[in-house]
Symmetry: C2
């Protein structure tokens, strides 16, 4: 048993205390990781930009932390002179009243009301400053939204530190989200809307709610990852010439200028939320895939209906859509079923959902159109599809119309990431701490 | 006075009769030309695919025939054994019941009812076969819809031949559309929906109508070309890798699968039709431009909301949008006014509307991003903007953010066409006939 595990037995789960020779005041610390989530029903538009209340409900799949994760160490000490945060080793300014500050204030309030006011013997962590270090194991250049996993990891680590919540240790044979994860999702939501969905594994709905105070705008788990473990995802990292419109700014431009968004919110999303939930519960891939693709298309349609228009898809994204559309056409003809579903967030990268057995075929198909220099961008073959050597193209499926796309310049897709559906935030061992004994990121020490 | 003018005095305008040694039966013939039109409020979706009744009203600008036109010669002879049609010198099969056949049947019916039944002395042209030759003076590769100008020229020439209508000769100092052009637009519409708008010059609305028989789905002139003669257009012919979805097929896919189209039809287009009409009547370029850009964006948005999605814009189209958006931003900052409006039909080509004085600046701006080999694609400088030599790039306008687009490979835009707002169909002189004395296209003789 590690020292951390001893301490975990002594203190409530998630709190670690130690003394060092240089620092005599008590120190509490938790490190947690949280997953990336990719929406099938997209979040685009806020009705309240401060509380981050959305104009429509959304639904996502949580991707495995074994492949993509944010890790956050939060340390509380009475000796810290101010609260500080480092993101990927770079210190960020914590602006009073801004998102991060608001999240931390909410967590402190919950610590005080739910823990300290009830048990005067616990240390008054709500009054101490924090040092927080957060790290994404995927490059920003991958174009994956890191704010969702980042704010989820921050919320999970501070919540555990404050004794508000016990996200499970990992690995665990019986992982299930803590009872109050939805309550914590209210806090993560205020950091970054879609972060609320990263507090659960599996399939997660963010219910838009009705209250103007946001109390009912929270995430719930529709089904755990164990419900449909064969659901895999292939992320195609697409080379993008220039940085697109930020989603924070973009979605409010859409709210202000798109006539079609109103119809999406009112007429389309409510029935899609209910249909995709049913599809997930029935493991009906055809319906799941069709709704996912339609909703990705519609999200990009309302971006285009914004004035001036917002574009996230580029010609490579469109070629991926054409290839998956043709693959599905051939498959429906042969078997009556769809094979894959594309979805695109606020950028040109594709996420392709499919059953695990199809991932290899899809990679081999894509490589006919998109030569990738795997020596420069190694493929992490976590599921051992290809044995030794790099993945390579294979002959086209029978009846496939090769002309749906041209062959692209090398590295138009600059990398592939294969992952699967995954669990929610995990409390990690002390050895994963990102802070050194002085409370600054180890990477800086 | 030419022989044709003599004949025009002898016979109703538009009818030409002559005898030849080889062909003793009387022959009547008219040649007419018709313009291209580019919609500001887009037509996309039919409620009746046979009668070609649209799901929403639309509005277009007629471009000058001096630059882009379809020319059609229609000849009627009792000696013709069957009705034949040549398009750009290639004979087309006239399928019974198909669009062309239906148009001709309607014209024959009108000839009989409106002319022959009233005056038994006129020749029974409605019972004779026709030879028709049509020619577009712009290459199909230019990606401009030729069916609109083509069916308009056909309708205008046969209508004149049948004495149904007297489209004016050109040049004419007092061009105005004939009183029954809207009635003829009912026929052109059945050939190709947007053809009905090419029966008028200037600004033309296609009112969707309500009748299930289509009798009220017709074109009307909102304002003649003389109302706003300084309105010019710059067509950017964009290289496109592959042929996109045909508009005929595409729009019905949208009708069947896009939820957002319903909202566009019901909530958006009616008010845009009225706003842009007011903007045109007031020569309010700011409103005209904004609505035009918004409606182009929304048309492409509903294409994207189609399942599978339809894409017509490519990365070059999007770069043009970004450049015009930035040019407008800088202009609004400096003067409070927009400079230019982009619009895109079912393809990647941009049409940019602007006041004549801005065309040169826009060309010089675009050339910074899109080098064009003018030796291979000569610029027809009809308005003498550049004097001798090819157009070339000029320094960016003050405050213009150059980074809105990268610099593209040579000939990503493969040509520029500068034109202006223009008139409706013209009856041409005999010397413009596309048919030789035997009644086959001169190009084949």
């Amino acid at each position: 048993m590690t020292r951390m595990h001893e301490l975990l037995e002594k203190y409530p789960v998630g709190k670690v205390s130690y003394l060092t020779s240089s620092l005599m005041s008590p120190v509490y610390q938790v490190t947690a990781s949280a997953p990336v989530n990719i929406a099938c029903i997209k979040y685009w538009g806020k009705r309240d930009t401060t509380l981050i209340l959305p104009t429509n409900s959304s639904l996502s799949v949580t991707l495995s932390q074994d492949n993509l994760r944010s890790t956050t160490t939060s340390r509380s000490s009475s000796s810290f002179e101010k609260t500080r945060l480092w993101l990927n080793g770079v210190e960020e300014v914590i602006k009073p009243g801004a998102r991060l500050d608001r999240c931390l204030a909410e967590l402190r309030r919950m610590r005080k009301e739910n823990v300290e006011d009830k048990d005067p013997s616990v240390p008054k962590l709500s009054t101490w400053n924090l040092h927080i270090a957060s790290y994404n194991n995927f490059p920003t250049a991958a174009g994956l939204a890191s704010s969702a996993s980042g704010f989820a990891a921050l919320t999970a680590s501070v919540a555990a530190l404050y004794g508000l919540n016990a996200f499970p240790q990992h690995p665990s044979s019986s992982y299930s989200p803590p009872a109050d994860a939805s309550q914590l999702s209210l806090i993560a939501r205020q950091g970054s809307g879609s972060a609320c969905r990263s507090l659960f594994g599996g399939f997660v709905a963010w219910e838009m709610g009705k209250d103007s105070n946001g109390r009912d705008s929270l995430a719930i788990q529709v089904a755990p990852e164990s419900h449909w473990p064969s659901l895999h995802a292939l992320i195609c990292v697409v080379n993008s010439g220039k940085k697109g419109t930020s989603s924070t700014a973009g979605m409010q431009e859409t709210v202000l200028t798109s006539e079609l968004l109103k119809s999406r919110i009112k007429d389309v999303v409510p029935s899609r939320m209910s249909s995709i939930t049913q599809a997930i519960l029935a493991k009906d891939f055809d319906s799941f895939a069709k709704i996912t693709m339609q909703d990705s298309n519609q999200f990009h349609a309302v971006c285009l209906d914004t004035f001036p228009p917002i574009f996230y898809l580029n010609d490579v994204s469109r070629a991926i859509i054409a290839i998956i559309t043709e693959l599905n056409r051939v498959s429906v003809e042969a078997t009556g079923h769809l094979v894959a579903a594309y979805t695109f967030d606020a950028g040109p990268n594709a996420v392709i959902y499919t059953e695990s057995e199809n991932i290899k075929t899809i990679i081999q198909l894509l490589l006919n159109y998109f030569p990738i220099d795997f020596a420069a961008s190694p493929f992490n073959d976590s599921f051992q599809l290809f044995g030794v050597g790099h993945p390579s193209a294979a002959p086209f499926p029978k009846g496939f119309n090769e002309n749906v796309s041209r062959v692209w310049e090398k590295d138009s897709i600059k990398g592939l990431i294969h992952t699967k559906i995954g669990d929610g935030p995990r409390v990690l061992g002390e050895e994963e701490s990102l802070l050194n004994v002085e409370g600054i990121p180890k990477t800086l020490a």
